[in-house]
């Protein structure tokens, strides 16, 4: 099994979610993160003092899937999260050795 992790723009979450569900992905876990990279942060000013906020809010998606699904899942995310602006993020795949569904104790592909 594989874990597909994606760091994307917060505004793209809904499109990505729709596309994945449409494709057949049954579950995903989402969390908030902040990214620092090519995309420049913004400036804030308080009583004349300037602050540069380097880190930009991102959404991190984690999707467990079968080996064969990893590639299509990556392409779906890439396609639906693309705005073309710097900061669109990354998707990466890591190997998973085992998965268990807590509720039932099912393991492996059945647990996804």
């Amino acid at each position: 099994m594989k874990l597909v992790t994606a760091v994307i723009q917060p505004d793209s979450l809904e499109d990505v979610q729709r596309a994945l569900v449409k494709y057949g992905v049954k579950g995903m876990t989402v969390s908030e993160a902040s990214g620092y990279a090519r995309q420049r942060g913004h400036k804030e000013v308080y009583r004349g003092e300037t602050f540069m906020i380097d880190f930009i809010l991102k959404v991190k998606l984690e999707i467990l899937c079968e080996d064969s699904e990893a590639e299509p899942v990556v392409s779906i995310i890439t396609a639906s999260a693309r705005t073309g602006e710097v900061g669109d993020g990354k998707v990466w795949v890591t190997p998973v050795e085992s998965v268990v569904r807590v509720r039932t104790g099912e393991v492996g592909v059945a647990a996804i």
Binding site: P10, D11, L13, E14, Q17, R18, V21, K22, Y23, G24, V25, K26, V30, E32, L57, V59, E66, S68, E69, P72
Partner: protein
């Protein structure tokens, strides 16, 4: 007792009435900050809706039950001023103010008395149960109690309530009628509704202390109207009550913080907020009958007593979630009984307590008045609470309680500070739902691929 209207007195009572109205939202924030984030709106709503229901009842028949001509000292005639009939006339006067100013001032007392009780059942009561409770409790408990304590013979009607006129207990602004009353009811209701699922096992710390502090600030501010406004005029009595409201509260805050410093190691902001409320409760009955030094002493007593009393619920095992008993019942008793000792003959009330050479009569009157309200309120509230619990239901399901009463009772959440949308517009209306339900979709390519 018909005088002319004094614009100065009227101005003072009208603004005092507005101040007392503000106390209920103040209470809502004080309570609301103390619960967990998942129940904050329900906590606020229990106070806010009381402004709605009791506000309407007061106009329909509440004022009349409290200040109509007495039926045997027990309750005012509910029909006399039903709908505030006839009170718009220029001749309708109480003391030196228009009757409707008095009606408004007392309306806000009724509202907050009921709202106070809600702290005992935070995070687990059905909202419908609470709404019904406000109606029944106001009608069966508060309106009569207000009559007993606040309706003086001849002020608004020929005959008034038995505590004010027969027992002769001093309750300047409602230590018995409001705080002991609400505190006793809170205990009864906590017993009826039962403990929160997580009581004693899971930590339930305040979710927003700035809201608690805001509530305490608005309460203190509004309480100047509550206490000094109870002089029903802008005069020396009002000034004495004002100063005593400052003195006792300042002292009680210091006292609570000292207890915490000694007992727990650190003075806390929740302690400061609680001390403020304890002091305000303590001085409420006594604001017109003690000297500023007496008020300082009452503040210290109330602060120390309540700081310890809030631990009782853990020792005894009832879940009075936000310590209505520990603060309002105990603080109200401290203030009410302290009058028997500390009443200063030089004060506006002109009564001498034990420490000023007076006899034990006043103390006895204070005790009787307090006991009457306490016992009646506890018993009647048990009955009302059980009746609601058995019929409408007063408690949400365990599942709803765990996921939070804001969602189950109000379909809302208090805060959404994230910039991420976790939701989709839906509804049966014109808008298409964007919610995707995997099981509604045709067999997916993925599934097809996988089955290959």
């Amino acid at each position: 007792m018909i005088y002319e209207i004094s614009a100065g007195d009227t101005a003072w009572v009208l603004i005092s009435a507005a101040l007392v109205l503000l106390m209920t939202p103040g209470l809502a924030f004080f309570y609301g900050g103390m619960v967990r984030a998942k129940g904050v709106l329900n906590m606020l709503m229990m106070s806010f809706v009381t402004m709605g229901t009791v506000g309407v009842l007061w106009i329909l028949y509440g004022y009349s039950m409290a200040f109509g001509n007495s039926l045997g000292g027990l309750v005012g005639n509910p029909f006399e001023f039903a709908g505030l009939n006839g009170l718009m006339s220029e001749d309708a006067i109480v003391g030196t103010i228009p009757t409707l100013a008095f009606v408004g001032f007392q309306a806000c007392f009724a509202i907050i008395a009921v709202a106070l009780v809600s702290g005992a059942i935070a995070d687990r009561a059905t909202f419908g149960g609470w709404v019904l409770f406000t109606v029944l409790w106001a009608t069966l408990v508060y309106f009569p109690a207000a009559h007993w304590v606040f309706a003086f013979d001849g002020t608004t009607a020929e005959h008034g309530g038995f505590i004010a006129n027969t027992i002769g207990a001093i309750d300047f602004a409602g230590g018995t009628a409001i705080h002991i009353n609400a505190g006793a009811a809170a205990l009864a209701l906590a017993l009826v509704v039962g403990r929160r699922v997580e009581f004693g096992s899971r930590p339930m710390r305040p979710h927003n202390m700035t809201l608690v502090m805001l509530g305490a600030a608005l309460l203190w501010f509004g309480w100047f109207g509550f206490n000094a406004g109870s002089a029903l005029g802008a005069n020396t009595t009002a000034a004495v009550a004002w100063i005593n409201t400052l003195a006792a509260t300042a002292a009680a805050m210091c006292a609570w913080l000292v207890v915490e410093r000694l007992r727990d190691g650190h003075p806390t902001s929740l302690g400061a907020a609680s001390g403020i409320v304890a002091g305000l409760v303590g001085i409420t009955p006594a604001a017109g009958s003690v000297s500023p030094l007496g008020a300082l002493l009452i503040g210290v007593l109330a602060g120390v007593a309540c700081a310890y009393a809030v631990g009782l619920k853990n020792a005894l095992g009832y879940d009075d979630s936000l310590d209505v008993v520990g603060v309002h019942l105990v603080g109200g008793l401290v203030g009410t009984l302290a009058i028997g000792f500390l009443a200063d003959p030089a004060s506006p009330a002109g009564v001498a307590g034990l420490l000023y050479g007076g006899g034990p009569d006043q103390l006895w009157a204070q005790f009787l008045g307090a006991a009457a309200v306490l016992v009646y309120s506890f018993v009647a509230t048990l009955a009302i609470g059980l009746a609601i619990h058995k019929t409408l239901g007063f408690r949400v399901s365990k599942k709803d309680e765990l996921s939070g009463v804001d969602l189950s009772e109000h379909s809302e959440v208090g805060y959404d500070l994230s910039a991420v949308y976790y939701s989709a517009l839906g509804g049966a209306g014109v808008r298409r739902t964007l919610l995707l339900d995997a099981s509604d979709l045709p067999e997916s390519e993925l599934a097809k691929g996988a089955s290959k």
